[in-house]
């Protein structure tokens, strides 16, 4: 009778990577819901396109690499990447943007580097940056929240816009973005950036375009961010992600935005605006925390998060792009191996203990 031989430990807590991925996917629901509520069906449609493309790409590549499909195809990592990309793309961007993005994310950023666990960059963010650089017009065509739209952007309208460029009634995205007063509405961050470059102060911008910012900080966006924050807290409670990165990231954003704000409140928006505008919370809880591409040790992750926060503030306040999550994520991904090199934790009984010296 052949006995089964296995290496210890024989016990396992029965957790699975795919389960972890599923958890993260579930945690995006509140944010997506907020997005749907404020911006309509656009992002959901993009998510659908992205998942389809990502899975097909993954399937082809895995087959070519002779990897076991059952283990990897539905491990959730490709789906998660697709969802994150779908969330980040402007709701009414044309369909091919998502197709190119998701194929690039899976094929080049993930699989060409060796597949799950081997990619140096966050696939969703790398794809996003590629798209932003290649198709700046489409990638900045954020529609304003539904409440500011002249028409009712229902599912069919959104679908039609994504695939044909026009709503069923024949409006183009450009037209949708035009305010009744005749100016083009952009995202709050965009608006801010454009007008700051034009020499206006924060106060003046707010007074000129109050509807973009709404009553609080950034109309619509603040709720989307709140949704992702909620999902992130859920992940923290479930211990699916480590607290270190979100905490250090948001903390460093707080510190640096506060420094900038106190330096010149006219030109630098306050912390709450930074936290609640753009993709901050998505970045903090879902993208920077992507374990594959972040630093390893707790200390390393604290540094990693802080660096990301610093870069976001730097680019938003000084740099040329309105939002900076994707760029700073990629930069930090690059820095991660270096951070890891210098933040190996002290092992039990190693180094600092004075006993070691005594022994010697």
């Amino acid at each position: 009778m052949a006995f089964f031989i296995a290496s210890s430990p024989h016990e396992h807590n029965r957790s699975k990577t795919s389960a972890l991925m599923r958890l993260v996917i579930m945690a995006t629901i509140p944010g997506i819901f907020a997005q749907w509520y404020f911006f309509g069906w656009g992002n959901l449609i993009h998510i659908g396109i992205a998942i389809t493309c990502a899975l097909i790409t993954e399937f082809i590549v895995l087959s070519l690499r002779n990897k076991p499909l059952n283990k990897y195809l539905l491990d959730g990592s490709a789906i998660l990447t697709a969802i994150l990309l779908g969330i980040s793309i402007p709701a009414l961007a044309p369909w091919w943007i998502t197709v190119i993005g998701s194929i690039f994310a899976i094929l080049v950023v993930k699989q060409l580097y060796g597949g799950l666990g081997h990619n140096a960059f966050n696939p969703a963010m790398a794809a996003y940056v590629l798209l932003l650089v290649s198709f700046p017009v489409q990638m900045t065509n954020w529609q304003p929240p539904l409440s500011l739209l002249p028409i009712d952007l229902d599912f069919n309208n959104a679908l039609s816009t994504i695939f044909t460029g026009f709503t069923l009634e024949g409006y183009s995205v450009e037209q949708l973005r035009t305010h009744i007063d005749g100016f083009t509405m952009a995202t709050p961050l965009d608006t801010l950036k454009t007008n700051l470059t034009l020499g206006l102060t924060l106060d003046e911008i707010h007074r000129a375009m109050p509807m973009v910012f709404g009553e609080n900080f950034a109309l619509g966006w603040e709720w989307v961010n709140a949704g992702f924050l909620l999902g992130g807290v859920f992940l923290l409670i479930k211990r699916a992600i480590h607290w270190s990165i979100p905490v250090s990231f948001l903390g460093s954003m707080l510190i640096f935005s506060f420094i900038a704000y106190s330096f010149n409140p006219d030109l630098n928006p306050p912390t709450m605006f930074h936290w609640l505008a753009g993709g901050t919370m998505l970045g903090a809880f879902f993208i920077l925390t992507d374990p594959v591409t972040c630093a390893t040790s707790v200390k390393g992750r604290l540094i990693f998060g802080a660096l990301a926060g610093f870069l976001v503030i730097l680019i938003r306040n000084i740099g040329g792009y309105p939002d900076a999550i994707a760029f700073s994520v990629l930069l930090c991904n690059m820095a991660a191996p270096l951070i890891d090199q210098y933040t190996i934790p002290r092992a039990y009984g190693q180094g600092t203990s004075k006993n070691t010296e005594e022994l010697k």
């Binding site: 031989i5 430990p9 016990e11 957790s15 390893t296 040790s297």
Partner: protein, 769 residues
Amino acid sequence: MSSIISRIKKGQWWKFHGGIHPPQQKHFTYNKPIRNIAMPEELILPLKQHIGQKGELIVSVGDKVLKGQPLTQSHHPMAVPIHAPTSGTVKAIHDAPVAHPSGFNEPCLFLEPDGNDTWKKRVLCENYQQLSHQAIIDKIANAGIAGMGGAGFPSHIKLNTKPEIEFLIINGAECEPYITADDLLMREHCNTIVEGIKILDYILKPQHILIAIEDNKPEAIKAIQQASANENNIQVCVIPTKYPTGGEKQLIKTLTGQEVPHGALPNSLGIVMQNVATCFAIAEAVIDDIPLIRRVVTVTGKAVEKPQNVWALLGTPVKHLLTQCQYQPQPKEHLIMGGPMMGFSLPNSYVGIIKTTNCILAPTAKEIPNEDNEVECIRCGQCADVCPSQLLPQELQWHAKAKNYDQLTKYNLFDCIECGACAYVCPSQIPLVYYYRIAKAEIRYQQQQELKAEKAKARFEARKKRLALEKIKREEKHRKAAEARRAAMNSNSAEAQSAKSAVAAALARAKAKKAQTAEQQESSKSQENIVEKNTSDKKSAVAAAIARAKAKKSKTAPKVEEVVEKTNKPAKAAATQQEAVPAVDSKKAQVAAAIARAKAKKETQNKTTKTTKTTKADQTKSSNTTTAKPDATKATKTVTKKTAEKQKATSKKTQSKAKPAASTTKKVTAKAKAAPKRTTANQKVTKDTKTNDNEKTNNIAVTSAENAEIKAQKIKAAVAKAKAKKAAETNDANNQNTQESDKKQRIAAAIAKAKAKKQQLNQQQQEST
């Protein structure tokens, strides 16, 4: 220090990094008493059941052994003996699968119990406090006790510590799931355990004794608390349940907040840790003279119908235990020795229980699934969060897979205690520990190879040097020898004369010996001749006679003598060789000794009654193997002393050395005769000793040759060298041991042997007369 104790008293513990809480699963066996089981049909005893080296086998196939009788003995501090767990017959000794993760075959002894369970003679120790520390430590070592908590580190080594011991920690944490062996032992035998702790206390004199028990064992805690209530330096520490609190390093951190430095042992912090089961075994060994022959084993898992703790004799096949607990064969059989976290899979169930086996886990496929679900590491870092050694398992596995050994060392792979916490939580279900084991083994192998290469190189160079040196020496010797020979033959100097007389003496002795064995009448005559020729003191002769008679007596206690013979065999050989040097110096003493012997022989023939009387006291003593040796030495001393009185020309010391040498001379006189020319003998010695691995012996031989030249005792030197040669021949194999033995012992042994031989001759003589 005081803060540590006050914290402990308050029940505040330090936290070690990480740790996990796997399901306890102790309920299977938690509330059932330890059961005695039927005697198995066969016991499979691996010769090595601990960390270290295996002992030397002292029984052979077919021997009948008694319960508790040692089966191996140890010459090495890291070797502990094993004992027969019951009386029976040694059936076979060969390699067989043993309880070790490597799954290698190792030498095992197969014992067939006779069913009588007859004990060897035991010597109970009423009051161990009358024994010296060393005596107790020896008792523990001889009882074969090695750490029973898992690693199997020889216990006596831990007790033989020099530094001041601050904390003696008794580990009753038992943090692995399923296992309840220590728990039950603490509940049922708390008094014996405390007795064992007191013995340790007596040896180590620690400032504090901490008994650490996880808080999931309330009954054991209560039992131990009651049993130790009167000991005010014992502190029962109820620590939180967390895996792996029971790990030595983790427990030390939990209790004292200190970390054992990398590469050091806990005693560098003044801490000694022993497992509760070990304490139990120590108490039994020291007080009741029961060696380590049984232990408590938890037989558990859903595949056994009656999971329970049992008293298992060491060597009990796992199959027998399973049958006793009604194992239900599974479609996919999986047996784990040890717990689910650190235990290892058994290759089959014909493996014997060893000293470190605390659990046999027979799970169903559902209970512990064995699917290979490994996917790539997603670097989630959960493993690093739980690693009690604060390592980065994800980096380690990455480098282990890439065989990047330098990086592995940098990430402190060797601080990994293989607790398995990382693999337990890994969502990618990577068998991390498995990769570490492979990597560790490979790194060790590499290091060994490097070391070997270095050693080989050093050896080669040393050999080259030695050969060159020897060549020079040889040439020098040839030259000197030629000169000396010329001088000896041509001149009529005193030197030459003495040399000649030495030859004569040697010849005479050889003749005497030959005559003895051949024709008794004639031999005694020739002896008388020599005696008459060389005037001698009667006293010395009597003394020699006594000594020999003693030797004879000890011979009459046959078995004991045999043991002495056996153990001394290598020593003797060395002695003969080494004594060659002084022998050359004291030719005169030798002659005298030979004379004395010859006389003594006669005396013995005549005055047997007288000598028997004198040696009666010694006779009783010599029944003991250990006393036999000193006896012999004593005898020699008397002899030499007497001889010294007579031969005042030479110093006492030289004489005592000369004596044994002289006794051996007899053996090789024939050879010496055959080698009339020193030069040839010289060459032979060099040649022979070259084949000898042992450089030390080699040197001695060379020095002996040199000495001989300086003194110009040419013929003597030839004799000595011939002797050395013979010695080299006889002890080539045993050479290495000889280094270690005490010089005195060697001399004694040599004398004893020489005497014994003489005695034999005497006996023959007597018989024929």
